[in-house]
């Protein structure tokens, strides 16, 4: 069957993923709420998946590891979110805040 994306070069996808990744990094660096930091990490992971899939379909379709990898990445990401939220809840219950810059009793 014919793909719908003929004509869009690989670079575009890679560029997109890179931008998305950077935005995610920015989020991690700038956000204060643990949950939002987590969201930013999700963005980064999605960037990774885009990369993987794009490479898979463009350069090595014979052994499309990228796609499989992307599936796993998504899975792990989901699991990560679940676990993280549990921890965040636990922290919130003990300290009454989810603001990561207020959570700095351990330092130096």
């Amino acid at each position: 069957m014919q793909s719908v994306a003929q004509g869009v070069p690989l670079e575009h996808f890679v560029m997109l993923s890179m931008v998305l990744f950077s935005i995610g990094v920015f989020g991690v660096l700038s956000r204060r709420n643990a949950v939002l930091v987590l969201m930013s990490v999700e963005l980064m992971l999605n960037a990774v998946s885009i990369n993987l899939v794009a490479f898979a379909v463009y350069t090595s379709p014979s052994l499309f590891v990228g796609v499989i990898f992307a599936i796993f990445v998504i899975t792990i990401a989901a699991a990560e979110v679940g676990l993280a939220l549990a921890v965040i809840l636990r922290v919130f219950r003990n300290r009454g805040t989810a603001n990561i810059d207020e959570i700095d009793s351990l330092k130096w």
Binding site: N51, F55, G66, F72
Partner: protein, 479 residues
């Protein structure tokens, strides 16, 4: 293509053991929870024995997972560490933690992840194993649910871990994009055809991968989580963090860079060297300032990581052997030290170095082991540290890294200072009034201490067998 699932029997056994421990937890009466630790340890010991069956068998599963001496070595190694940790945490878990079953379960499962990291010859598997280990550790670190420090540590570790593993993944994706495959062998084959027209992508990928793994092994500047996680985590888990997770990181590092990236060594060795230098200097300097034994160990471990990275920088068969040897010696020493600390902590409930005072009077055995372990960490002879460090540095020098070796020895002198400070509390300071009485250390702890110290002396005085075993193991890294 070989799909021999029997290769994973030890892992299946581990999984089964974990499950059965969790199940047992439901039936064991509360005042007998310590049984769990013994059962776990016993099971682990058995499994370690089983996994010895693969010695000198060099085979692999679909080219994804290699079961060779390297894997076997680390299998036994990780399982052993897990067993020690289980035994050592018995009293701790009873006193402070809920859900002992899950606790031991996670430790055992994480071992699978660690073994996977050592065994994987394929990026995806390596990544998943790494996540398996990390997840278990995230949970274990925050296992002391009512201790806000534990939660905080867990949160930091988790968020930063996710962040850095995203970085790692991105690096992997780039490598995949370049090589079109995730098998180490393919990658290495691909890279050996010249990298001129995508060298920047390659460098970026390498940096990201090194960052991810650097985070795992806590190399400066990716080390920030370490002291906090160490301090927050339950004592036994701190020990686990400083042993298995680091060792697994190095297992993966060696396997990956030996198997996939050695052909482009000149592209990355200087990065590792830089990290090594930074780690040695920063870790040992900041350790001078610590008053909490866990944080002290955290920084000292950062310094030790620096030494090990020195070996990775000049990666070759010799250095790999040297690295694994030092890793082993360091881990044994570290375990011994942590067993002492845990035992003392169980008795006194304090993690402050200042509260080690009078250990000589109150627990001579612990004090002696403490001294031995600290000397070993400082790299003084009779103990493991001297020999392994000597061989490691010599190996690095043979690769031409004189300056790294120089930094290494200088910083190890600095480390001697703070180790001696700890020893001073234990031996010179007298116990407070009314605290002079002898403490009754549980026999488990005494046995562990003696056994581990015996190990320290074994490595320190007659490393020949161990070294040749290691040499056989690392031989398979570069196929």
């Amino acid at each position: 293509m070989n799909f021999d699932y029997t290769l994973f029997i030890p892992e299946y056994l581990l999984a089964a053991l974990a499950a059965s421990i969790v199940a047992l937890d439901l039936f064991v009466p509360n005042f007998r929870k310590s049984w769990l630790s013994y059962i776990a340890a016993a099971g682990l010991a058995v499994i370690a024995g089983v996994s010895l069956a693969w010695v000198n068998k060099q085979t692999n599963f679909a080219g994804i997972i290699a079961i060779d001496n390297y894997t076997t070595y680390f299998r036994v190694f990780f399982i052993g560490i897990a067993a020690v940790i289980c035994l050592a945490s018995g009293r701790l878990v009873e006193d402070q933690l809920q859900h002992p079953g899950e606790y031991y379960g996670f430790i055992i499962i994480s071992t699978i992840g660690a073994i996977g990291m050592a065994a994987a010859r394929e990026l995806m598997t390596a990544y998943l194993s790494l996540e398996l280990l990390s997840f278990s550790l995230y949970i274990l670190v925050s296992f002391a649910k009512f201790d806000s420090r534990s939660n905080e540590a867990g949160l930091k570790y988790l968020l930063l871990g996710a962040f850095s593993s995203a970085m790692f993944l991105y690096g992997l994706s780039l490598i995949y994009g370049l090589a079109g495959s995730t098998y180490y062998s393919d990658i290495s084959a691909f890279l050996s055809n010249g990298t001129s027209n995508f060298s920047f992508a390659l460098l970026m990928a390498l940096v990201l991968i090194i960052a991810g793994l650097g985070f795992k092994v806590a190399a400066v500047p990716f080390h920030m989580w370490t002291p906090d996680a160490y301090e927050g985590a339950p004592m036994a888990i701190t020990a686990y963090l400083s042993t298995t997770s680091k060792a697994a990181g190095f297992a993966l590092l060696l396997r990956l860079f030996g198997g996939a990236f050695q052909v482009v060594q000149h592209d990355w060795s200087w990065m590792i060297a830089g990290l090594a230098a930074a780690s040695m200097i920063l870790g040992n300097l900041v350790a001078l300032q610590q008053h909490n034994i866990k944080r002290l160990m955290a920084y000292s471990s950062i310094g030790q990581i620096g030494y090990l990275l020195m070996g990775v920088a000049g990666l070759s068969h010799d250095t790999a052997s040297a690295v694994v040897l030092h890793l082993t010696g360091y881990m044994v020493t570290n375990l011994a030290l942590f067993v002492v600390i845990i035992a003392w902590y169980n008795m006194t409930g304090s993690e402050e170095i200042a509260d080690f005072r009078g250990m000589r009077e109150r627990a001579p055995l612990l004090a002696g082991a403490l001294a031995g372990a600290l000397f070993s960490l400082a790299g003084l002879p009779l103990f493991a540290g001297f020999v392994t460090k000597f061989i490691l540095f010599q190996a690095a020098t043979d690769q031409g890294y004189y300056w790294l070796a120089a930094i290494g020895v200088v910083t190890s002198v600095i480390s001697l200072y703070y180790y001696l400070q700890v020893m001073r509390e234990a031996f010179v300071s007298k116990p407070e009034e009314g605290q002079e009485f002898r403490l009754q250390i549980p026999y488990v702890m005494q046995g562990l201490t003696v056994a581990l110290m015996a190990g320290v002396f074994y490595v320190g005085l007659y490393p020949a067998q161990l070294f040749s075993a290691v040499d056989n193991a690392t031989r398979f890294l570069f196929v």
